[in-house]
């Protein structure tokens, strides 16, 4: 663990965003994770994405459960709201917070243990309900905090650091998310920030349940030759289906693309997802075909990354429930507690 804090000094030419913040202003405390942990790279990618999107830090809420991954919100966005919940219960806390205040950006940070084991049910229901959030699973396929047991996402046949072979089937969180109706699904790799940062930006701009499965090698327990989540293995088997560029509304599009190679998806807020296709036959809109494709590549031993599914017109939980447009903290006492008469009326409707 590093004992000193990161020096406050920064590069003399460090650029500032539209709010006047530098990237360093989006950082948190220095990481206490193992040196080289993939999770730290994901934290850096989140910092970069929030900086590039000019997000005011106080409009973001970061929520997590328990585990190495769930420690990471301490290491980014120190000026944002944070909630470190019970193991596997982050999705419920996030859902509740989102219902109370729909105006914040919700960043759920979890790991394969927190979301695929103890919190699998919570994970499933938050996606199924279409909570407007970014749900990132920092997936290292191992229980790092308890010294390297297989997790629910460890591939069958992969080996532990001590040589034990995993006999259980892995849960594929991407396929699960697509099955459950997440409207923005992506997979990436902590070792490829060029891919990861735009994916996080796209997810933040998406007004629905966005899910990112980010493979994040555990350098202490799962970065050996028998692992399928090591730096080397992921780099060798990584098959990106597309490369994403996120364009803000009103941003002039300057990048030059060969015709037919780029698909533009305009999201609800006017932001444009420009997808440079790397696998010609892959269609992010066709959920069933995409799932079939993913199954096929998975069977062939590949790790498919990129934007895997987007619904540009998602409907979120608030739309399903027809809730009030303002967050609770902007409503007056009268609106929040309309009194006995209103309750009477409400109950009468069910009689």
């Amino acid at each position: 663990m590093t004992y000193i804090s990161k020096p406050k000094l920064h590069h003399p030419q460090l650029p500032a965003n539209k709010l006047g913040f530098t990237r360093r202003d989006y950082e948190g405390a220095i990481s206490t994770l193992c040196a080289g942990c993939g999770h730290d790279s994901i934290s850096a990618a989140i910092i970069q994405a929030c900086f590039e999107l000019d997000l005011p830090p106080h409009r973001i809420a970061k929520l997590s459960g328990i585990g190495c991954s769930s420690k990471t919100p301490t290491y980014f966005l120190s000026s944002s709201h944070g909630f470190n919940s019970v193991h596997g219960r982050m999705p419920s806390v996030l859902t509740g917070a989102n219902l109370a205040n729909r105006e914040l950006i919700y960043l759920g940070v979890s790991g394969d243990g927190d979301s695929a084991s103890i919190g699998l049910g919570q994970f499933a229901h938050s996606l199924r309900r279409g909570v407007n959030m970014v749900y990132i699973v920092e997936n290292n396929g191992v229980y790092g905090l308890t010294k390297g047991q297989f997790s629910a996402t460890s591939d069958r046949g992969s080996k532990s650091k001590k040589g034990a072979v995993n006999t259980d089937t892995a849960i594929d969180m991407v396929l699960l998310a697509m099955e459950l109706g997440a409207t923005y699904v992506a997979r990436s790799f902590s070792g490829d920030k060029a891919q990861l940062v735009p994916l996080i930006k796209g997810a933040i701009l998406h007004r629905g349940a966005a899910f990112i499965d980010c493979i994040s090698p555990c350098v202490a327990f799962n970065n050996h030759s028998g692992s399928t989540k090591s730096f080397d293995y992921v780099r060798e088997h990584n098959e990106a289906v597309n490369q994403l560029d996120v364009m803000m509304p009103r941003e002039t599009i300057t990048a030059d693309y060969a015709p037919g190679q780029v698909e533009e998806i305009t999201q609800h807020d006017g932001s444009v997802l420009k997808l440079r296709k790397l696998a010609a036959e892959y269609d992010v809109h066709d959920r069933i075909a995409a799932m079939n494709y993913l199954q096929g590549r998975k069977a062939a031993g590949e790790i498919v990354t990129g934007v895997l599914h987007v619904d540009p017109e998602p409907e979120d939980l608030h739309a399903h429930l027809g809730t009030v447009a303002s967050p609770f903290n902007k409503l007056g006492e009268k609106d929040l507690c309309p009194g006995g008469g209103a309750l009477e009326k409400f109950n009468a409707a069910y009689r």
Binding site: P12, L14, C37, G191, V219
Partner: protein, 602 residues
């Protein structure tokens, strides 16, 4: 770009900006750490070995190290007033607090090597030659016209900046090695000297002649017009103790600053400095200008002296023409009259400090030493040898006026040449430096240097109360840092000699170093030409004088490129590296001085 060869001594030496900028290449961060640890004596000895006069330089050095200091660059846009580490004043702390180090100084061996060396002038260059050669068994004789050794250190630097005890002590350390000093012995003829049985002659006579201003009235008012360095020297030896109330100092160099501040202490109550150029173009170091301003001395600029005025055979004032700076067609600055009426200033005395010149009336032009058109001896820039092979020049006498630290550096180099010459070797074959690179790793995240970067701004040296300071020429103005302030200032040093060393085979390209680096120095990217690469790093590397550290190809076909420019040497890249591909290693470079190590290894 080609992978960086970190085995080349210059590569990491350049990263230690202060040491690279210092003419004597003093290992600055090494002694600053010793000061922080309270090891003042050791810090002094590191200095003494390298620059011979730590106590003197700690008060008077022109400090080329400080403008080079990385701290100034990394504080830019981070702090309101970016400033380098107070390297010079920390050196003084080591000198002030060192205790008795005499046991650690070398002594001349009882058995001499039979070679005799004459050093002309007892200034910093000659004394450095003497210090380097005497311990090797040379019989060194130092001649000076003044009764006491020290040269310009003693004659030109006023006592309120440099107390006499400090000069006596450090000049004494050199003479006590076993050097013969012949004070009051002016050498009048090089020919006669060469006829004596000296195996080599070193000329370290400085630039002893102050430039004069030949203007109307110069002769008539001559009694109250003084040449700056001569006047300072007279003050130094107690021949002059007073000056008029109203004093004009002409000139914008450090001598002018010494003249005006000295005048303030000898009765000058209305002292002003008048310069031809603009304030910013003045040759004086910024801190010397500040010191003068602090003592209430105005500096008037863009005024060209036109005439000395006199009444009844006595100086009454001076007239100046007002000018402004314009750029001519070739982009050179020129001073042209503004057309405004001339300005007149009343005064009782004028001190002329408009430059110094070399002067060698005692070297006969047929002594076998070649001189160029400007009257300077022809001297080899590396070996300091004159066209007469037995004669060597150094300090201001070699290439014109510079400063003490350059004189010391010349002295070291000339001593190597003299030693090789006396051993019948080719003086042009020069020794390499001693270079050492050692890991500072003590534990998983512990280093044998303090890697926590201090956020302090530069600490100011406390000054003597001005009323007391201005009363006497002998009261030292600067009090020097106390131990607590010295520690705080020493902690501002970034330890640039603790190098980030990268081992490509160990790297797994996890990005941890890139993510943690507070200065965005590290990038993993495809290789390219330098210009292209500099533009697409994590932070563009625009400071071309600072190198890029390029690794061999990594597993993914990329390279690691590190911009050395603003690295804090905080070691976080190495702390966050899971495989030890980054390591912090202390680079120690010691310049080889005259002696057996410089001679060919037969």
């Amino acid at each position: 770009m080609k992978p960086t060869d970190i085995a080349a001594p210059d590569y990491f030496h350049k990263v230690v900006d202060c040491q690279w900028a210092c003419p004597a290449h003093t290992p600055v961060p090494e002694y600053i750490r010793m000061i922080a640890a309270g090891r003042y004596g050791d810090a002094y000895m590191v200095n003494w070995k390298s620059n011979v006069f730590p106590g003197i330089l700690g008060r008077t050095c022109d400090r080329p190290c400080e403008p080079a200091c990385r701290r100034g660059r990394v504080e830019e846009h981070n702090q309101t007033n970016p400033e380098p580490v107070a390297i010079c004043r920390l050196k003084r702390v080591a000198a002030d607090n060192k205790g008795d180090i005499r046991a650690q100084l070398p002594k001349a061996p009882p058995q001499k090597n039979g070679k005799r060396i004459a050093c002309i002038g007892a200034g910093p260059a000659s004394l450095t030659v003497a210090r380097d050669l005497a311990p090797l068994g040379y019989e060194v004789v130092v001649f000076d016209q003044d009764p006491r050794a020290g040269g310009m250190i003693r004659t030109q630097i006023p006592r309120f900046r440099l107390p006499e005890e400090v000069i006596d002590e450090e000049v004494g350390y050199v003479l006590d090695i076993g050097v013969e000093f012949r004070g009051g012995a002016r050498i009048d003829s090089m020919k006669k000297l060469l006829a004596q049985d000296f195996d080599a002659v070193f000329v370290g006579t400085g630039a002893p002649r102050g430039r004069d201003l030949d203007l109307p009235g110069r002769k008539e008012a001559g009694k109250n017009i003084h040449i700056g360095i001569d006047w300072l020297s007279s003050v130094s030896f107690g021949h002059v103790e007073k000056i008029g109330k109203r004093v004009i100092v002409l000139g914008g160099g450090n001598t002018a600053m010494d003249c005006c501040r000295t005048s303030r202490r000898l009765g000058g109550s209305d002292v002003k400095v008048i310069v031809r150029s603009g304030f910013d173009e003045m040759k004086a170091s910024p801190w010397e200008k500040e010191d003068a301003a602090h003592e209430g001395i105005p500096i008037l600029n863009y005024l060209v002296p036109k005439a000395f005025e006199h009444r009844n055979g006595k100086l009454s004032g001076m007239t100046f023409e007002k000018v402004r700076a314009v750029l001519d067609a070739k982009g050179r600055r020129q001073l042209v009259p503004t057309g405004e009426p001339d300005q007149h200033f009343e005064c009782d005395d004028v001190l002329v400090a408009v430059g110094q010149e070399n002067s060698f009336p005692w070297i006969e032009r047929d002594a076998g030493i070649e001189f160029d058109k400007s009257g300077m001896p022809v001297v080899d820039k590396v070996t300091f040898q004159a066209s007469q092979p037995r004669v060597f020049f150094g300090g201001d006498a070699a290439f014109g006026p510079k400063n003490i630290i350059w004189a010391v550096a010349h002295g070291h180099d000339a001593a190597i040449s003299i030693d090789k010459f006396c051993n019948g070797e080719d003086v042009r074959v020069r020794p390499g430096p001693l270079v050492n690179l050692v890991s500072q790793k003590m534990g998983i995240h512990e280093w044998s240097y303090d890697n926590d970067v201090s956020g302090d701004l530069r600490h100011k040296v406390p000054l003597k109360d001005q009323i007391i300071a201005l009363k006497s020429i002998k009261v030292e103005v600067e009090l020097g840092f106390d131990a607590k302030m010295a520690f705080a200032e020493a902690q501002r040093c970034l330890n640039c000699d603790v190098q980030t060393v990268f081992s490509p085979p160990l790297c797994i390209e996890c990005d941890a170093c890139v993510d943690i680096c507070p200065m965005d120095c590290i990038t993993f990217t495809a290789n390219g030409e330098e210009e292209d690469l500099r533009g697409r790093l994590s932070a563009p590397a625009r400071e071309l004088s600072q190198d890029l550290y390029i690794s061999d190809l990594l597993k993914t076909g990329r390279i690691m490129a590190k911009d050395e420019d603003v690295c804090l040497h905080c070691g976080l890249c190495a702390e966050r590296c899971p495989t030890g591909a980054w390591d912090m290693r202390k680079f120690l470079l010691n310049v080889t001085h005259a002696g057996p190590a410089c001679r060919s290894q037969k």
